[in-house]
Amino acid sequence: MGEKGSEIEILIGGKAGEGINRAGQVIAEILSEMGYYIFMIFDHPSLIKGGHNYSIIRASEHPVGGIKRKPDIVLALDKNTIKLHEAELSPHTVVIFNSDKVKNAEGIGIPAVSIVDSAGGVPIMINSCLIGAFCKTAGLEWSDVEQILLDKFPVRSALNLDIARKGYDISEVKFQLIRAGENRAKLITGSESLGLGLCYGGIEGYIAYPMSPASGILHFLSSKKDEFNLKVFQPEGEIAAILMAEGMACCGCRAAVGTSGGGFCLMNEGISYSGLAEIPIVIINSQRQSPSTGAPTYTAQSDLPYAISAGHGEFPRIVISPGNAEQAFMWSAKAPGLAWKYQVPVIILTDVTLNDSLYSLSPETVINEDYDYGYKEVDEGPYLRYRFTGDGISPLGFFNGNSGPVKINGKTHDESGISTENPRILEKLAEKRIRKASIIKRDMEGEKCVLRSGNSNSGTTVVSWGSNGPLCSELCSRLKIRSVQPIVLHPFPEKQFETAISESSKIIVVEDNSTGQLSELMKSYGFFSDNRILNYSGRQISLETLEKRLMEVI
């Protein structure tokens, strides 16, 4: 019998349409209730029925940043789950399988189909049966999980519970999971966290066209629009989405949009418009793997230089890349304020890993941050939308009748917003944007743009960004080396970054792309990396593999 006290990893797999994600979530919630920190990935090809879907849940007494891909328990709804993950199984892995579907397997066979049938259930309840079996295998007392399960089965709860109990009774105890502590955290996906953060940051509108992996934000906010008093709308495409959001901004209504690669490409003219016409807007670009339609549901960090330069012409912007639910909440709550303070586009770069994964979030740690930035309001005298000022920021007036005519213009314009191509004014406009950029850069040094963790005295520093940040942080803490994660990537937080990596003898950059985009960006600021660990498989690198690859270069 295996023993597991402080952490456990569970893989649950089956066909698309079998409710794998939801079943994984229920397991995650049980473990979360028991005081564990959770990280769960959901791996799913871009299809609705068939294919192979799986979730990996890692639960630990310590904050979790990634998965190991060395499951302690596997829940196999079908044969593929065992076949496709064979290499990940170890001698101590316990496989719980649906013995009505999977023959000749080793482990704990549960005749889930028969149990569900004889109880008068429907096929989706096979999950409940296997979850019940899992609880027993993990060594959980029925009395501890009963109430939790009841809460997690919103429909036909009694029947689901009955089926889970039958799975529990038939299963065997293999581990002794103990309560890790009080449950302090809320389980939340990255997409939900981004949506909640945006609301907390004061957006009134979210306009988006469906596109994986950003759709989770749209679905979540749409389902919560009455609760949050939000205007959520799906328009005819991404070009319309960003321009509608900018139209809202012209009325003093904070708005955000969310998309992925191709949709972000379509938004470029709107980003450029925001740059010249100085319209505040928040844009989430959830990165997917490969160019074009690429691999929609697989992860990458390959839009960094693109996000920094998207839209033609030169104009200031802010590019932020949070790495987990906590960072996603904080920075999507800051984004609207930053966009409005400086009247610029703020781009939040996320990826499949962040959007689709489930995280433990302690709301108390994020809601008390300062998210109020204010903006330059209209003052006395005739209103000039683009007044030249010392810091390049003009008072922000809206179509609300408070300031006389407001003339918004995406063509080069004079202070009042009337088009001009006068060479002196073209120069002044460019200089206005440059001044604004330098003010933003200065002010952003006052934010916590760079996170440092692990052993800060170590000469070996691992630099990573986005969803790899928490992963590297966990591993580096264990290996007693330094981990540095720049969250704000543009304007590049040079001073903070320099401090964070100071006295490093070796800098290793970890990224989910094939060209070393952050590493190249660092180079342009004079920070040179010694090694790059690049992963472009569309799946977040596992802790095990990352450790191996780190050891090769340390």
Binding site: N229, K231, G247
Partner: protein, 277 residues
């Protein structure tokens, strides 16, 4: 109070855009005489000769992007349904580059008034053909060999669900002004397709003067509207009806966005409650 800015006007002499500019100016004057405020109006312009109207009118404006006036306007209405929004768009601008937005605005019945400055040519970029140029029009980029027919924007918009459709002509300013006024008074998506003379690249004024007649009939019948819209196919020498082609009352788009509060504190409170704190 002047309704015209001091921006130098760069439209060609004889350009039909002047008639549209002054029709709108007069309407705004009227509007203020009736006790409303011009600050309640926003004009959103596309990019082309027509778009310069944003510089010339001393009111709230968005000088938008080529083809994209409609999504800006839609966003404005989502944010503030009380604003009166006029879109001045071109035929290249809204029938080519941004056609999808136009059709969707009609489908949704967004309460905006769209004025299409249809000079049947790309004016600002020097005379290329547009979706409403006749097949004989030989521009810089097309042969004009009769092989590519124009489409009929009125029929297209009827199919898309427009609840107010009219056709005007820059050579008949009084009627034009009335049509725009009616469009603005219509609660829902209104489009006024304006046959606009381009003095430099496509001056059809004598043809229009001869063929355009003032239509006054039953604008509530969709079948009749289709017949009327199809009377001239933008290609032949038939007569051209000008007037209100179709009008219908249907629920407007903005109604689904009417929320009571925009208060940041209450939104934050809702998030905190969601967290169960």
């Amino acid at each position: 109070m002047s309704y015209i800015t001091d921006a130098p006007n760069t439209w060609c002499e004889g350009c039909g855009n002047f008639a549209i500019l002054h029709s709108i100016r007069r309407i705004i004057e009227e509007y203020e005489k009736n006790g409303s405020k011009k600050d309640e109006i926003v004009l959103v312009a596309g990019i082309g000769c027509h778009g310069k109207i944003a510089d010339y009118l001393n009111i709230n404006t968005v000088y938008s992007l080529h083809g994209r006036a409609i999504p800006f306007a839609t966003g404005i209405k989502i944010a503030n349904p009380d604003l009166k929004v006029i879109c001045c768009v071109g035929d290249g601008d809204s029938y080519a580059e941004g056609l999808e937005h136009l059709l969707f605005a009609a489908k949704r019945n967004v309460d905006i008034t769209v004025i299409v400055h249809d000079n049947r040519v790309y004016g600002l970029t020097m005379g290329q053909y547009t979706p409403t140029s006749p097949d004989s029009y030989h521009g810089k980029t097309n042969p004009g060999d009769g092989k590519e027919k124009p489409f009929n924007p009125l029929k297209l918009l009827l199919c898309s669900g427009a609840t107010f459709l009219a056709r005007g002509y820059t050579g008949r300013m009084d009627q034009l002004q009335k049509l725009i006024w009616s469009g603005m008074s219509h609660k829902g998506f209104a489009l006024i397709e304006v046959l606009q003379v381009c003095a430099s690249f496509y001056d059809k004024s004598s043809f229009y003067d001869r063929h355009i007649y003032e239509y006054q009939g039953d604008s509530g019948d969709i079948n009749e509207a289709f017949i009327l819209a199809g009377e001239w196919d933008y290609n032949s020498d038939s007569d051209i009806p000008a007037g209100i082609i179709y009008e219908e009352i249907r629920q407007i788009f903005e109604e689904r966005f009417e929320y009571e509060t925009t208060d940041l504190k209450s939104r934050r409170k809702a998030v905190i409650e969601y967290f169960g704190l």
